[in-house]
Amino acid sequence: MTARADILANIRRSLGVAASERMRVQAVEDRIERSPRGVIPARGQVDPVARRDLFKAQAEGVQATVEVVANAKDVPEAVARYLRERNLPATARIGADPVLVAMPWEDTAIEVAHGKSEGRDLNAVSRAVAGVAETGTLVLHSGGDNPTTLNFLPDNHIVVLKAGEIVGDYESVWSKLRMTFGKGELPRTVNFITGPSRSADIEQKLQLGAHGPRNLHIVIVEK
């Protein structure tokens, strides 16, 4: 008997069930098909402006920094200013996200590189597909547009988020991703990111910048 058959048989013996019981099969199919939402925190169920404000407050509460700009074309200048104010070199690695690529980077002194990170980039810019107001969480996913390595290897991660893509709760993210990828399908990696990397493994003292980015800066685009 294979390990697989053995384990499944053991489970069925312990539960006192047979594999073919129609009621059980139906219960599983139903749950996955219906994907019932459970308890949704009321705090995120507010109008778009309040949702944006809640997202900002929650993200700042976990040591992210947040800036709001009016238009997409304002983003490069905001990024340049962020780097300048922190005495960081004017460099940025960007994937191939069409929204990011279309921004006027040439108007700034930022030296832009494209593609995945090999671990030598100080700064990266990504675009989130959603922000979740209830906890100030960013949602990014893998693909050529926004390589996953950009989320973790650089010291300073700058994430661009459209205000209209801020939702109240995690469940709304799944609805949104299903529109793109289909029910039951996900891209290789979906990252929920809530603040910069941290560790409290030494005497329970919180330190920022463990293995991932030391700084997380979020630029919210109003329009």
């Binding site: 384990i7 459970g38 090999e118 893998s142 996900l186 941290r198 030494i202 329970q204």
Partner: protein
Amino acid sequence: MSVHPTSNQFKGNVHQALGNAKLQQAMGFVRTGFIDKRKAAADRLPEFEALRDNAREIKDHVLAHLDLYLERYEKKATEAGGQVHYARDAAEARNLILDICRRVEAKTVTKGKSMIAEEIGLNAHLEAAGIEPIETDLGEYIIQLRGEIPSHIIAPAVHVTQDQVESDFRRVHTHLDPARDLSEPSSLLAEARGVLRERFLKADVGITGANFLIAETGTSIIVTNEGNGDLTQILPRVHIVLASIEKIVPTLEDVSQILRVLARSATGQEMSVYTTFSTGPRRKGDPDGPEEYHVVLLDNGRSAMLGGEFEEMLRCIRCGACMNHCPVYHAVGGHAYGWVYPGPMGAVLTPSLIGVDKAGHLPNASTFCGRCESVCPMRIPLPKMMRSWREREFERNLAPATVRSGLGLWAFFARRPRLYGLATNLAMKALTWAGRKKGRFTWLPLAGGWTQYRDFAAPQGETFQAKWKRERGSK
């Protein structure tokens, strides 16, 4: 299992732990911190209790249909290009992983934090085959340098003090300037980041655990704060996920419910920094991510727990709240429990996994104060289950002779109420008289285990039963 359990030496372990000044200093950081932070996070979310109820229901539903959800999960993971392997026990899991590492000629393997990897003794097995496992979670890295096992399921190095970390780093990182300043936790963290960054980039295989597996999409989830788990799984050519079979959750909506109680219960964060959903290997057009994605599903005694009195333990999501709130854990730390899982959850799970004959002492390490159950996000009745283990230990004649004869004696009197009243009355009078001067005893016959550490208060007046009778009678 290959982490050699010393759970049967629990009493000796406890004496050592209580006498270990460094450990007692380190445990002071646990007694504060976790408890207040969890409470604050729970209080901030009005829906917290309702989410706990729902999380329990989701997991109960999964356990009742575990065979079907496993099949469904496997189907979806395979469709996404993942390779799913089943392991009946620790040895099978170790060998499955070693075979993959050997096939790709791995020299170094980075590891995200995984309690299952501890459970199966993976590191020793890889080392014996000439493959170097590198722990990348800061706490796990520290204890790997020290040759220890975790003493807490989410804060593995909680028993280590800062100056101990400094001396370990100086001992091992000999390529760095001996005169460097390591007096702050931030400089220790920066040093570990620098040292491990090179290892991440060069590793051939990355091994992570999984907090959850989603049947709907065939996805594995890791929840971390450091980002080490992500670097472990996106940089090497091969990603291996090691998960036990009960980690399954039906849908993305269901896992969202449980995520809302996980971090709040564990560290008091509303959400951990990184919650990562991984489905299969790198896709067409992806510039990064692993080329191979394997999932090893481990049983190791869990299927036998279903349908029995310890089934509810399989709801556990390894948040650590039970140990963070346990006065016994606070006093003795995690290593005294003698195996991988400490605290109340360990006291229930360890006998299930390695046998009550080897771990029967652990369920006795409880005052039944009930705090573990009151904070468990999955509402696992830990005290009730510890009581069940005590009964089994007694039934199987595993309890020591003194305990058995003491309980026998007590039972003899308890079944004879009049005799019981008479005897306790006499004892009360005798103790009141004997303790009339100091009001306490520093030594009592047959109670050395108590009086060795603290005084025994002398009784004041009469027995509870006598007092009850008098007060009720006067009404």
